[in-house]
Amino acid sequence: MPLTDADLQALWLTIRLAATVTLILFVIGTPIAWWLARTRSGWKGAIGAAVALPLVLPPSVIGFYLLITMGPNGPLGQLTQALGLGLLPFTFWGLVVASLFYSMPFMVQPLQNAFESMGTRPLEVAATLRASPLDAFFSVALPLAAPGFLTAGILTFAHTVGEFGVVLMIGGNIPGVTRVASVQIYDHVEAMEYGDAHRLAAVMLVFSFLVLLAVYSARPNRPKG
């Protein structure tokens, strides 16, 4: 039996959300990862820990704080209202903002590793070959970190696809707006539609496995040491 229209709608929404978040995080996460990899500042520890927080916090805690922040009396909510954008909770863009925080470590950490492992030498070489720091970043650091970008992009996308708790706190369950695949599965189960839940769950399972397979096989088998 094929997926229902509601299922397809939920899947499409999930993909749009994950793609949007991944693209935005490439832009936000790259400078953060670069800074973390290069800085000698005392703030490195604090910023690094803040970025990694979503790895350990229950999604409901993140969702709760974001809900308050984006709510009518929260700082972000006041800002969006002042800009005439209305309030973010229970909208697609509210989900995007929440997912940016939630998926941040999956973007930043692989990139930071990639930047750290290349060391400073390639950039020094670029400088002696007349490349300005910005030029060297784009012409040397980015190509050398390409595998890191691939890993970071895939992990971020997959992790956003898989989020549930934060979505429920921030987005609720509005068809076509905030009802992503994981929420749709939850709905099916609540309604005792186990057959429907199975089909969608199987899609997610296969997708997740394929993504991880891609990440692990793209990683070259470097000899240790």
Binding site: R121, E124, V125, A127, L129, D135, V140
Partner: protein
Amino acid sequence: MDPIEVRLRLTWPGFSLELDERLPGRGVTALFGPSGCGKTTLLRCIAGLERAPQGRLAFQGEVWQDAGTWVPTHRRPLGYVFQEPSLFPHLTVLGNLRFGQRRSPAPGGTAAPSGLDQAVELLGIGPLLERRPERLSGGERQRVGIARALAVNPRILLMDEPLAALDHQRKQEILPYLERLHERLSIPVLYISHAPDEVARLADHLVVLEAGRVLASGPLQETLARLDLPIRLGEDAGVVLEGRVAERDQRWHLLRVDCAGASLWVRDTGVAIGRQVRVRILARDVSVTLTQAQGSSIVNTLPARVAALGEDSHPALALVRLQAGAATVLARVTHRSADLLGLAPGLAVWIQIKAVALL
């Protein structure tokens, strides 16, 4: 050519570097010293890869660093060769060469890729251009690294022990290319090394560093012949002479090298007649006689004049500086012999040279 002014003061935990030097604006200047003496730090400061908190750097009238001036590395007209070739792995050999060339103004304003073509030719890497760095041997990689530094048309070339990471055979493969650079390049080269043979072969000017300070600085031949501060390139004191191959003795497989009035026979290594060569004579291989020795097995016997006497590393030994024509040679003798022979400045003697190494 104007000299390069280097005045730097830098202190790190357990290390300090302090110097005030004027390095020559032409030829190869070797920065020589044991590891940890600050050679690399000095070169990195000159390149702007490291910033000494106090200092002044001026290259041929252009100020690179001063109290209120800091020219970043990418705006300094230099080429830098790192100890490891550090080629960009995501580019081919040609891509590596073009990286800097595209970003540097060609001399004369035209798009003529003269620096690149000349570098490819000088280093003999024409056949490698389409290859990826991981498919090159260690020696080939370093040749590409040197060519890449030259392709930017630098006005000074900085080389940080370019041969140190290579085994003996690879070194011998690259040294001839470096000698070609030495002959053909008109720009000054600062060359870091702790290998005596490289310095003896390549350097025109020698700066000896120890623990972050300059121990001696001057033209290679003069500096090596100093008695107050015998500079040991490696195990022993000795001089380097420059000369030309004048004659080949086919029968005995010998070459005659004319060095500033002194004629020396060396083993024939196949060098062409007329070639500019260097020979090295260690003080321990030179002995002094008052009359020309007869019936000796030693081939190289020259008339000379005692220029000065100095102390050597052991109280029993003296170093004698001798002038043979325009060539300066050091001899190691015991104080007893010096006294017995009455060696004194101005005395005419004969020197016997047991071994002359053609470099």
